[in-house]
Every structure is written in structure tokens, then in C-alpha cells.
């Protein structure tokens, strides 16, 4: 039996500590991991809890991220609670196995500390890595700060392990900006936290020796489509109600409210930015300042990246005239991914909106309030004109000649 850890009501934790404390409190059975900056402290902390008796699970330090997720898959199929963490190149190396985990309906939790992809090598935060896995059938939550990184892990376990869902889930946080920045984090005591997720209930577990199971079968054209279709259907129809229910239960327990799409001052707004990660809270501040000047601006923060909350975003965008899609990922020959996702939603919203794309913050570069003020000014001009008055895509804060595309 693992020892309990006494926590203060508010602890000063960075995002990595917050995530690892959540893994401790849900009493993970197996972590298979390979360290990579900036997610390394999550598994280091897990090792620490193990070394000090606050966990009595198994820690398998494997030889690569691909093996980390492979070990997690084997462990999860055996029937227990499993989690790991990664970033960037490690995430890229895992991608093959991400599809395996979701295809086998194994509720593994992956903490992704977002970081740029090489080349050139860069250890800092941007969202390029997470998009590699966006179609891998995982549920993806986005944390904007350490508190979210803590709370969303519990939500993720509760949703993923639900027998009607049985899909793996990721919790994203911004590399360094969240993972290494300490803030006050409101905690739950160990029993409260554990009971929110509850004891793991295995299903089709390999270790039930009286009921052998076959995992990871071969299907060809006769069945493959049905399996993928069912998985997609469950993602599109079953996951959102479960997430809503988990958010409600979590609010009841802690008073902290999460929403699939976080809206801020959008109700009468003419212009909004849509963004993820740490930029959401910066945008809240700028929106406040602009509101004080009488500008009708708001913010939409994406909380659930997958399944894509099309209906919730469409609802949030009602009446909005101009949208800036803020992408912290390399567009590499197209619009930013968030822009592309939003475009599908906007086209079907039944309203004419002006959607432009701002690519910012690659490799950890700051998105400043000055940048956001400029973006909002352009969006308000777009809203008034009812058409783009500036290039459709702009790269924010890049040295040298301005980079934009019409």
C-alpha cells in the first residue's frame, strides 16, 4: 500500500509537477517512459514517488519513446491504469503506437508537453508535435496553466477509462511556459482525488487467465472500415457527453469549471481570437484591456482538440464577424492547423465571417500583448469591412522582411 502525501490546499507547482502529482494520486499501476525535454520531470517525479513509497506501481524505463508507448499498450491490455509523458521528437517516434493504442481501445493517458519539431533542433514550446497525433484516435485535452494540467489529468482518466469510451487520452501543456513555470495550484487530498477516478475496472484484460483474449488483430477490407467507423462514431457521439459529465462532476467537487470550448467575452463580440495553451490567458488580459476601451473583442480557447468540438465552436462563433485563428505550429505549406480546423466549422456555420490566420510563437518565441493588440486591431477592421483587410496568413514577430500570404 502506498503512503499518502500531505498536500497544502494550494501548492506552488509547475505544470510537470502538477501532472505527476495527478499520476500519483490516481495511483498509476505502470508507467513505461523515456525522458525527453521538457516533459522529463513528469516521469522523474513518478520515479521519486516510487522511491519514497508514495506509489507502489511499476516503473519501466525503456530505451525509446516508441518502446514507452509499446510497454504502455502491453500493460494496459494486461488490465491496469497506465500513463506516460513525452514531447516533440519523442511524440513523433510514438505516433505509430498512438494509433495502436486507440485501435485496441486502451485507456492510456499521455501527458504531452508541447515542443517544436526539429530541424532545426529546439527544445521550447510550440504545438507542432501535437498535430502529428491529431488523427490517431486519442482524446486530446489542452491545459493553459499548471492548474489545468493537474485537473485535466483526472478528467482524462475518468473519461478514458469509462467502459463506454475506452479510448486513450492526451493532456497537452506548453513546454516550459507551463511545464516549468510555477504557480499556485489548488490541490485535492489523495483520497478525494483518487475517488474521482476510482479503482481501475479492467475489461478484456489479458491477465484474466480464465478468459483469454486476442488483442491487435488483423482486419482487411471486410472488417477494417467497421472498426475504424465505430471508433470514430464513439469519438464523435459518446465522448463529448462523458467529458461534459466529468467537467460537471469536477466542478461539483472542486468549484473549478472547465468547458469543451472556453469562451471569454464573446457574447456581443465583433472579433475574437481562437487559440490554445498559454496564449489563451494572455488573450484574456488583452481582451479585458480592449473592452475597457470599448472594443468588442473576445477569446475562444480550445479545451478539447479531439474530438474536434465543431458544434460548440459554431455556437460560440454566433454573431462574431471576424476571427483570428492563432496557430502555434509550423504551417509548412498550408494554413495553420487550427485555422484549417476552424475553416471547416466556419464554412458550415451559416454566417459570413472573416477568418484569418496568425502563426506565432514557434520554438518558444513569446506572444506579447503588443502582438495581440495588433491582431485585434486588424480583426476589428476586418469585422467592420466584412472582408479581409490584411493578408490571410501572417507570421508574427519574425525577423527580417514581413512574412505574410494573401
Amino acid at each position: 500500500m502506498a503512503d499518502k502525501m500531505e498536500l497544502r490546499d494550494v501548492e506552488v507547482w509547475d505544470g510537470n509537477m502538477a501532472a505527476s502529482q495527478a499520476l500519483r494520486q490516481v495511483q498509476i499501476d505502470v508507467v513505461a517512459a523515456y525522458p525527453i525535454t521538457p516533459s522529463t520531470p513528469i516521469v522523474e517525479n513518478y520515479g521519486n514517488y516510487l522511491a519514497n513509497g508514495y506509489i507502489d506501481g511499476e516503473f519501466v524505463m525503456v530505451e525509446s519513446e516508441h518502446a514507452a508507448m509499446s510497454g504502455c499498450i502491453g500493460a494496459a491490455a494486461a488490465g491496469g491504469r497506465v500513463a506516460t509523458a513525452t514531447s516533440s521528437q519523442g511524440f513523433a517516434l510514438m505516433v505509430e503506437t498512438l494509433y495502436q493504442a486507440s485501435g485496441m481501445r486502451l485507456p492510456i493517458i499521455l501527458n504531452v508537453v508541447n515542443r517544436a519539431l526539429a530541424a532545426p533542433l529546439n527544445v521550447n514550446g510550440d504545438h507542432s508535435d501535437m498535430y502529428l497525433g491529431r488523427d490517431s484516435g486519442w482524446i486530446q485535452f489542452d491545459a493553459y496553466n499548471p492548474q489545468h494540467a493537474y485537473d485535466l489529468n483526472f478528467i482524462a482518466f475518468r473519461v478514458a477509462e469509462d467502459h463506454e469510451i475506452r479510448l486513450p487520452a492526451m493532456v497537452h501543456q506548453d513546454g516550459f511556459l507551463t511545464s516549468h513555470t510555477a504557480q499556485g495550484v489548488k490541490t485535492m487530498d489523495d483520497d478525494t482525488a483518487y475517488n474521482f477516478v476510482g479503482e481501475f475496472k479492467p475489461m478484456n484484460d489479458m491477465l484474466d487467465l480464465d478468459h483469454p483474449v486476442t488483442h491487435g488483430v488483423q482486419t482487411e477490407e471486410d472488417w477494417h472500415f467497421e472498426h475504424k467507423a465505430r471508433q470514430h462514431n464513439d469519438l464523435m457521439t459518446k465522448v463529448f457527453p462523458k467529458i461534459e459529465a466529468a467537467f460537471d462532476a469536477f466542478e461539483k467537487m472542486t468549484g473549478r469549471r472547465y468547458n469543451i470550448v472556453e469562451t471569454y467575452k464573446t457574447e456581443d463580440a465583433d472579433a475574437v481570437v481562437v487559440c490554445m495553451g498559454t496564449s489563451v490567458e494572455t488573450a484574456y488580459e488583452v481582451a479585458d484591456e480592449l473592452r475597457a476601451d470599448g472594443k468588442k473583442v473576445g477569446v475562444i480557447g480550445i479545451r478539447v482538440v479531439r474530438p474536434w468540438p465543431h458544434a460548440q465552436i459554431a455556437e460560440a462563433l454566433k454573431g462574431i464577424k471576424a476571427i483570428g485563428a492563432l496557430d502555434r505550429s509550423s504551417p509548412n505549406g498550408t494554413f495553420g492547423m487550427l485555422y484549417n480546423e476552424l475553416a471547416g466549422t466556419v464554412v458550415n456555420s451559416g454566417e459570413v465571417k472573416v477568418l484569418t490566420n496568425y502563426v506565432y510563437g514557434l520554438g518558444g518565441r513569446d506572444l506579447t500583448k503588443v502582438h495581440l493588440r495588433e491582431i485585434y486591431a486588424e480583426l476589428l477592421a476586418n469585422a467592420e469591412a466584412g472582408k479581409p483587410t490584411t493578408p490571410l496568413q501572417q507570421l508574427i514577430g519574425v525577423r527580417g522582411p514581413k512574412i505574410s500570404f494573401h
Binding site: D29, V30, A32, D56, G57, E58, V60, M61, V62, E63, S64, H66, A67, S70, G71, C72, I73, G74, A75, A76, A77, A78, G79, G80, V82, E96, T97, Q100, D205, M206, L207, D208, L209, D210, P212, V213, T214, H215, G216, V217, Q218, T219, E220, W223, H227
Partner: protein, 318 residues
């Protein structure tokens, strides 16, 4: 540890457990199914199995059917070893936490992979599992070729074999490289037990598998798996070809304990020439042209040298 299963004769052995069904899609004459049955039948213990992508996997778990009456998992081409390692870690965690459904039973953890999945693409994962010391057995179904993808060379393919990516032709005798020595590599990991087996020598194989199951830690088994399709012989000749392999010492049967102590477990009464083994298979047919005689000579010299090495190692007993 549970008691070792007692086996009286081949007939009883072959039907003593049916955890791998005859209903599968493997080629007629494929040694994979013989080896798998021999491994599974060597014990009455519960088994948790994994397979890497390959002939065995694609032929035995085609939805909605399965040939496996024991828990089985396939992830990808390279990570069958790590899948079993993960399951073994979960077993240990749940045992300690008192959450096993059958706490009095101790399953054995076994991963199967072909030579492609083991010698090549999955090598890193196996090496990691052995370095970490998981309590598991890894069995290579070594047919010396990427049979599942249609006969490309692997790093287990022996010199002179004609494959689709190392074909014999007007100016080539086929594969140029010698077969990778996985036995030595795995022994060098410090594995407590490493053994080479062949399905024709079933008693030797059962003994080694049982030793492997009784061993704590990672066990490596290299099983010669004659491939009727890619080696090009008739399906009914699988065991005869296997006999030629072991009796020519092309595939010597031995074991290495704790990474050092080597025992030869089969010494043919009459050692036959390597060319008798090669001549029985279509993949080596071209070696019997006069211009390729040097490859036959090299083959024989290599087998002689390797046999000498094994005997010296056994004598040294270190």
C-alpha cells in the same frame, strides 16, 4: 514455480494442449506452427503471448477469428517484446497490489517474432527488454527471410540465398552477407538462458523451453523455422529439411547459460556435407553452377569454423 510438465512420447506431446489451433492460415508445411505448438505444449502454465507483425501474426488472428486459446497481443512489427514486457510489469504491479483475478497462478510471458522482427526492425526493443531483465521468453521463428512480405533478404539470410532483394542473377550469386549471429549477441546481454532449437529435435526443444520457463529473467530462443515457400521445398519435407540443417551443423543446437557457459545439446552421429542441405532447397539452386563453387566452399568452411568455435567454447566451460 509450478512443476515441469512430464512428457512421455511425441503423440501425447503433440496433443497435450490445444492453445494454438490447427485452424490458421499458415502455409502447408510451415514450421512456425510446429514450433509454436512445441513451445506452448512444453508447459501447462498459463501463458500471456505476444507476436510481432509477420507470418505468424497475420495468419492466426484474422478478425473475427483467432487461433489462440491464451491471451495474445500484437502491436507492431518491432515491439512484440515490449508488449509482453509491459504486460509482465502490470502483472507484477497488480500482484503486489493484490488485484490479480487468479492470484495463485503464475503465467509465463512469451513473445514470438520472425527474423525480420527480431534480427532487424525489432532488435532495439528486444535488447531493451533483455537489458531490463523482464521475466519473459522471446522466441525467434527464424526462417532467414522476410517471408511475410514476399521473400526479401533479412540480416538472418545466409550467404548465397536468392531472395527478391538479393536475387541470384547473371552476375550475382544472391545474398552477399553472412547471417547475423543473434545467439552471441543475445548471450552478450547477460541473459540467463539463450538456446538454439529446431522443431525436428522436439525432445531437445522441449527440454530447452522448459529450462527457459524455469529460468528467472529474459530468455532467448532462436528456433530454426524452415519455410517451404521461400526456401523452396515441398510442404511435406519440412522435417526432412530440418534434419539436414541440424545434421550438417548449419544449424547447430546448443545453449548458453548466464551469457558464458555453452553446451552443445546435439551431436549428429554422421555429419553430412553442407551442400546436401543447400541442394535440397530452391533458394540455393544457383550455387551448384561451376562459377559459384567458391560460395559452396565458403559455406562449408564457415560451418566448420563455427562448429570448431562452439566445441572450443564448450570445452572451456566459462
Amino acid at each position: 514455480m509450478s512443476e515441469m510438465k512430464k512428457i512421455k512420447n511425441l503423440k501425447e506431446f503433440s496433443t497435450s494442449a490445444d492453445r494454438f489451433e490447427g485452424a490458421n492460415l499458415l502455409c502447408p508445411g510451415c514450421a512456425h506452427s510446429i514450433i509454436v505448438r512445441e513451445v506452448l505444449n512444453a508447459t501447462n502454465d498459463d501463458l500471456i503471448l505476444a507476436a510481432s507483425t509477420g507470418c505468424l501474426e497475420v495468419c492466426t488472428a484474422v478478425y473475427p477469428y483467432t487461433s489462440w486459446d491464451a491471451s495474445w497481443i500484437h502491436i507492431g512489427f518491432e515491439n512484440g517484446s515490449t508488449a509482453v514486457a509491459g504486460a509482465e510489469a502490470m502483472y507484477k504491479a497488480l500482484k503486489r497490489k493484490g488485484r490479480l483475478k487468479q492470484p495463485d497462478r503464475e503465467p509465463k510471458f512469451v513473445a514470438f517474432g520472425g527474423d525480420g522482427a527480431s534480427y532487424d526492425i525489432g532488435f532495439q526493443w528486444i535488447s531493451g527488454c533483455f537489458e531490463r531483465g523482464h521475466n519473459m521468453m522471446y522466441v525467434v521463428l527464424d526462417n532467414e527471410v522476410y517471408a511475410n512480405t514476399g521473400g526479401q533478404r533479412s540480416s538472418s539470410t545466409p550467404i548465397g540465398a536468392s531472395t527478391t532483394t538479393a536475387p541470384a542473377g547473371r552476375v550475382s550469386y544472391g545474398e552477399k552477407m553472412h547471417k547475423k549471429n543473434m545467439m552471441q549477441i543475445m548471450a552478450a546481454h547477460g541473459s540467463p538462458y539463450v538456446a538454439q532449437v529446431a522443431p525436428n529435435k522436439w525432445k531437445d526443444m522441449v527440454k530447452k523451453i522448459q529450462t527457459g520457463f524455469a529460468t528467472e529473467g529474459p530468455v532467448f530462443i532462436n528456433a530454426m523455422s524452415a519455410c517451404t515457400t521461400e526456401w523452396k521445398f515441398l510442404p511435406e519435407d519440412t522435417i526432412a529439411i530440418s534434419d539436414l540443417a541440424t545434421d550438417s551443423l548449419v544449424f547447430p543446437l546448443y545453449e548458453i547459460i548466464d551469457g558464458t557457459k555453452l553446451n552443445i545439446t546435439y551431436r549428429p552421429k554422421n555429419v553430412i556435407p553442407v551442400k546436401d542441405y543447400l541442394g535440397a532447397q530452391g533458394r540455393f539452386k544457383h550455387l551448384f553452377k561451376p562459377e559459384n563453387k567458391h560460395v559452396l566452399d565458403e559455406w562449408q568452411a564457415r560451418v566448420d569454423r563455427d562448429w570448431e568455435y562452439l566445441q572450443r567454447r564448450e570445452e572451456a566451460s566459462v
